[in-house]
Symmetry: C2
Subunit: 282 residues, 2 copies
DNA sequence: GTTCCGCATGAATCGATAG
DNA sequence: ACTATCGATTCATGCGGAA
């Protein structure tokens, strides 16, 4: 049995990435700090400086990614003074200029978005999941994210309250009931480029990360067992934890020592339980 | 009773728009031909020329829109040679440069999108609905697009504690009526910036109509009765038809004579039925 | 042992107030 | 004038405690 490696590295990703070999990573999936957000932990990046700040990292990511690999970037521009910032658009153009192919833009439809009411806009319920590639022939395992009826019924659907089902139904018109009957009629369904994951509402003492389902979905879609996954803005370690569970090798880079400790703890815990599980199953 | 005007104008919108008075339009909602699409009818615009082609129109739209008005642009970049084009991003930046405020990007989540399967991407289930404004204080009637929730109300009611119900009751004096109206108010919820409209699978000979719900939603949100609505790429006349039904004045511009005929026919039909209705009701 | 209820809390945004 | 901070708004979620 091959061993799964999970490396958590402390430091500035621009520097740490230099230590990684070129063409060694199959999937990069990450959520960098957005402009002017997470000031306490990351200092905050000014929107005007964002592209300039990100490009050196993009350069390293381009180097370490395999030609068949994929880079998924989760980001969303803020609204300020009644206007949307344009730095994300500029970043996409700049990354293209750097040599990346902008292959696709997935929409993360956040079912439970932040509440609020303003005179000029509604609640922001979506984020960008930008897909970049090095080459046109990248690896993609579409079959692995098809939704089998069993998994759906046992997993996500069970988590939805009856109220949610009713509400979605009445809101969207066609809604849940119809969709479910569709799924029942088929074995498996391909997803679209609009994906829905609930945000994590955690009472833990660290800032919110993306939900496990998000890296899980892209890891399924763009890697196979024993492939290498990289998250250069690891945060509290969601990506490495999920990769480990899915039997992918992974590397996470994080500049805040406390987060590195949390991420390492998750990995250790999982190793323990795997070890325990193996012993039992022998 | 004030009369609703519905004008369908034949011609190149760049030219026709010059005839409209400045600061005269409350809402522009339109879906221009996408690059390289609809070649037969519009000649097709090359992606690299798209911004250059659109900017003179944008200039006219900026002139005719009231300072409190809104411009909704429905557009989506195509995928070509396994890559997403960047002309929409460049258009947003160019329109900002032209003086427009980029206020918001709504996502049109298409529930029943075009079927198909590709090796490198999933079905495209969303389009951009870009909101631009001339000034930061634009008109917005959020209450008019609140979603009534039907069965969900039962869940809400159940969630109110018995104490709350009693307290409200004793406070209001008149009792039941006030409580119910409170609950009814609460049973409406504001939408988010992700909207769902079913796509039209119609057999009409216009290639890319948007569903009536789309202009209807934005007309509700950004105009009131007797306001002026403009669609400079009218196509088969959905926008003017909806505006007329909603008792808004409207102007549609279309370069293809056949479409102009179709759009006019819709307006005439509606006028007939309105007239007929009036006669009957007398 | 379930189920239910109350409550804190988020990658939010605006407008006002303070330095 | 320009930035920094605060209060108000709002709602899905998950947890803990209670019935």
């Amino acid at each position: 049995m091959q061993e799964i490696q999970t490396k958590i590295l402390l430091g500035d990703n621009k520097e740490v990435l230099r230590q990684l070999g070129e063409n060694s990573i199959d999937l990069i999936v990450t959520s960098p700090p957005y402009a002017d957000r997470r000031k306490q932990t990351y200092g905050g990046v000014k929107p005007e400086k964002y592209v300039e700040w990100f490009l050196p990292i993009g350069q390293q990511l381009l180097r370490v990614l395999k030609p068949t690999g994929t880079f998924i970037l989760n980001i969303k521009e803020k609204a300020e003074k009644r206007e949307r910032s344009s730095y994300v658009l500029e970043l996409i153009l700049a990354l293209r200029n750097q040599g990346w192919l902008w292959t696709e833009e997935f929409i993360w439809h956040k079912k439970n978005c932040y509440p609020g009411k303003w005179p000029n806009r509604f609640r922001d319920a979506w984020e960008r999941l930008l897909q970049f590639n090095k080459a046109k022939n990248f690896a993609m395992y579409q079959e692995d994210v098809m939704v089998p009826i069993g998994d759906w019924a046992n997993g996500r659907l069970r988590n939805l309250s009856a109220i949610d089902k009713v509400r979605d139904n009445s809101k969207s018109g066609s809604g849940f009931g119809k969709n479910i009957s569709n799924w029942l009629n088929r074995d498996k369904v391909y997803p679209t480029n609009v994906v829905q994951f609930a945000t994590v509402c955690n009472n833990k003492n660290h800032s919110a990360v993306f939900p496990e389902e998000l890296p899980e979905w892209f890891i399924k879609l763009f890697t196979k067992k024993y492939d290498w996954v990289l998250d250069p803005f690891l945060g509290s370690g969601t990506t490495t934890e999920v990769a480990q569970r899915m039997e992918r090798n992974s590397i996470g880079i994080e500049i805040v020592p406390e987060y590195v400790e949390m991420a390492k703890a998750k990995v250790m815990q999982k190793e323990q339980s795997l070890f325990h599980h193996n012993r039992v199953s022998i």
